[in-house]
């Protein structure tokens, strides 16, 4: 069963007091919990947050399901998100995403055997002038080529 760490709990409490509406703390709290649950959210996380926040599970669940940054299944240690929207597609991002999957021997949205990587295709990340690009966890990597992208990933242990 998922349980927030002491620090995580304190952070959630802080978010609960931060906004005019208590429900505004759902998104920030899901971020906190997802980080402590190896990068994804499952029913046990929702259940715990519901108790801690005193908000019905169904309310937290509908928010969780609506936003793409909350993962519904486990992801690798490095979540590689390649933008395949129009400006990046014009500069070869779909081919780059395909190459990365091929080199890592994995399909989109699955985890590599060693648990290190998940590769996803995502919509525009606001980095269209430096295409193609990828976001790995919190960081943007821009002006890539398939080879430079793979070199960066190989260095992530």
């Amino acid at each position: 069963m998922f349980k927030l760490s002491e620090q995580g709990l304190a952070e959630v409490k802080k978010e609960l007091a931060r906004y005019e509406a208590k429900e505004s703390a759902i998104i920030p709290s899901l971020y906190i919990a997802q980080k402590e649950n190896s990068g994804f959210v499952n029913p046990s996380v929702i259940h715990h947050l519901s108790q801690v926040m005193d908000i019905p599970e169904a309310r937290i669940n509908e928010v969780f399901k609506f936003y793409t940054m909350f993962n519904q299944k486990p992801v690798g240690k490095y979540h590689v998100q390649v933008c395949t929207n129009i400006s990046c597609a014009l500069e070869g991002s779909r081919e780059m995403a395909g190459y990365i999957c091929h080199e890592l021997g994995v399909k989109y949205d699955e985890v590599t055997a060693d648990g290190r990587f998940t590769v996803s295709k995502v919509e525009c990340l606001g980095s269209c002038g430096t295409a193609p690009m990828m976001q790995v966890n919190d960081y943007y990597h821009e002006k890539l080529t398939p080879e430079s992208a793979m070199n960066l990933l190989r260095g992530m242990k």
Binding site: Y19, Y31, T84, S87, E95, E123, C124, Q135, Y139
Partner: protein, 430 residues
């Protein structure tokens, strides 16, 4: 004519990110000036400047502020930093390079509309811009520029950042308000407009990052000075995010009315060697596409682009060269809108799904000639019928791509492969 840097004058200085660096270049000097003015005087100045919203719709900012009820009811100022319109990357640069510029604009705007609480709603992926904003807000509080009794003026204004979590629809102002309230980010029926009933049912003004940042310069230099750039109806400068197949993509600040061809050929260094201009989407993925012949006639202002049947939108200029397949590119867009429809309205939910299915059937070689008419029919039925403008935004690109590049679609259906690339969808991307 070339770049005119009003907002971006000091963006090349790394220290401009910090309070000291920003102040060294005159930053925050307009706050005491504004706080000594009457709130209504500021609103009038913004009205006189002709400033129009930089987030997409181009609505006159001063007029929007004027819709607020004239009573002491608490009201909110929300900055829209969701920046999800494909092709747009200017707000991100503004928050990274000059977070204090946005804060200054927000203090002055909040004073003008009588708001004591503001939020900057930033898309969840913008971890670094959020870090820059948070640092700047802390500095501003420590310097007495935010919080109680700003610079001894008696005016209070608190500012916080809210991090979204991945949903294009949260860029639509009522979707953003829903999201901030802790709900699914679904747009709300208008009226009531946010200025009357918005966040927590209180009067609320939503403005884009670039709009709020521009307010400072209007108050600093006066409306007439601001009007020196741009055209009569499209005043001032605007940041254009240029992406796609040009030599030097990037953000460029030019006066509104700047010829699109000059932007591409001068600022952006033209097309890549050996390539020809084929088409441009001038205002983010929701704007109808222009052919090369139309590009030659287009000026980057609201009226010129409307005259060509398209729009300025967020100022995202997506440049497409002659090596690109328009059927393939439209498939990217239909996929995006099908993914991002929030599902509340039947024409949008069903329509975006159908457009994407039909397009991918064509791309995968299963298309029939009548599918081209079907695309047009489905798109036509999605217009003007829904709670928010996403449905129209999904329909317009389809209509313009199909109507202007019809022979590429017909070829694809007949031959099961791209006219431009000569290959099938599977061969193009796998």
């Amino acid at each position: 004519m070339a770049e005119v840097k009003i907002l971006t004058e000091f963006y090349h200085l790394p220290e401009y990110q910090t309070l000291a660096g920003y102040q060294a270049k005159g930053g925050y000097e307009t706050v005491p000036k504004a706080l000594k003015m009457q709130a209504q005087q500021i609103i009038d100045e913004v009205k006189a400047s002709g400033l129009r919203g930089r987030g997409g719709a181009g609505f006159p900012t001063g007029m929007k502020w004027g819709f607020l009820p004239k009573n002491g009811e608490p009201r909110y100022l929300l900055c829209n930093a969701d920046e999800g319109e494909p092709g747009t990357f200017k707000d991100r640069m503004m928050m990274e390079r000059a977070p204090h510029q946005l804060i200054e604009g927000m203090i002055i705007s909040a004073f003008a509309i009588g708001s004591h609480k503001g939020y900057i709603y930033v898309r969840g992926e913008y971890v670094y811009p959020i870090e820059c904003l948070n640092k700047a807000i802390q500095e501003a509080y420590a310097a007495g520029l935010l919080g109680k009794n700003i610079l001894g003026s008696g005016f209070d204004f608190d500012l916080d950042v809210y991090r979204g979590a991945g949903a294009y629809i949260c860029g639509e102002e009522t979707g953003m308000i829903s999201s901030l309230e802790g709900l699914k980010g679904q747009p709300k029926l208008k009226p009531p407009f946010p200025a009357v009933q918005g966040y927590l049912r209180k009067p609320t003004i939503v403005n884009n990052v670039e709009t709020l940042a521009a307010v400072t310069y209007i108050i600093r230099d006066g409306a007439q000075a601001y009007r020196k750039n741009g055209t009569e109806k499209s005043s001032g400068t605007k940041l254009f995010s240029v992406s796609g197949n040009v030599v030097k993509p990037g953000n460029y600040e030019v006066p509104l009315g700047y010829p699109l061809m000059n932007l591409i050929m001068n600022e952006c260094g033209g097309m890549k060697p050996g390539r020809k201009l084929k088409a441009v989407i001038p205002g983010g993925s929701s704007a109808p596409v222009l052919t090369a012949e139309e590009v030659a006639k287009a000026n980057m202002d609201y009226e010129s682009l409307a005259g060509l049947g398209t729009m300025l939108g967020s100022g995202a200029v997506i440049v497409i060269d002659d090596s690109q397949c328009m059927v393939d590119m439209l498939g990217v867009l239909t996929h995006f809108y099908a993914h991002e429809s929030c599902g509340q309205c039947t024409p949008c939910r069903e329509g975006t799904g159908w457009l994407n299915k039909i397009l991918h059937a064509i791309l995968e070689g299963r298309g029939r000639l009548q599918d081209i008419e079907l695309l047009i029919k489905v798109a036509d039925n999605m217009k003007g019928k829904t709670i928010c403008a996403l449905s129209d935004a999904a329909a317009l690109p389809v209509l313009s791509f199909v109507n202007k590049f019809r022979e590429e679609f017909e070829f694809y259906v007949r031959e099961g492969r791209s006219k431009v690339k000569g290959t099938t969808y599977a061969e193009m991307h796998h």
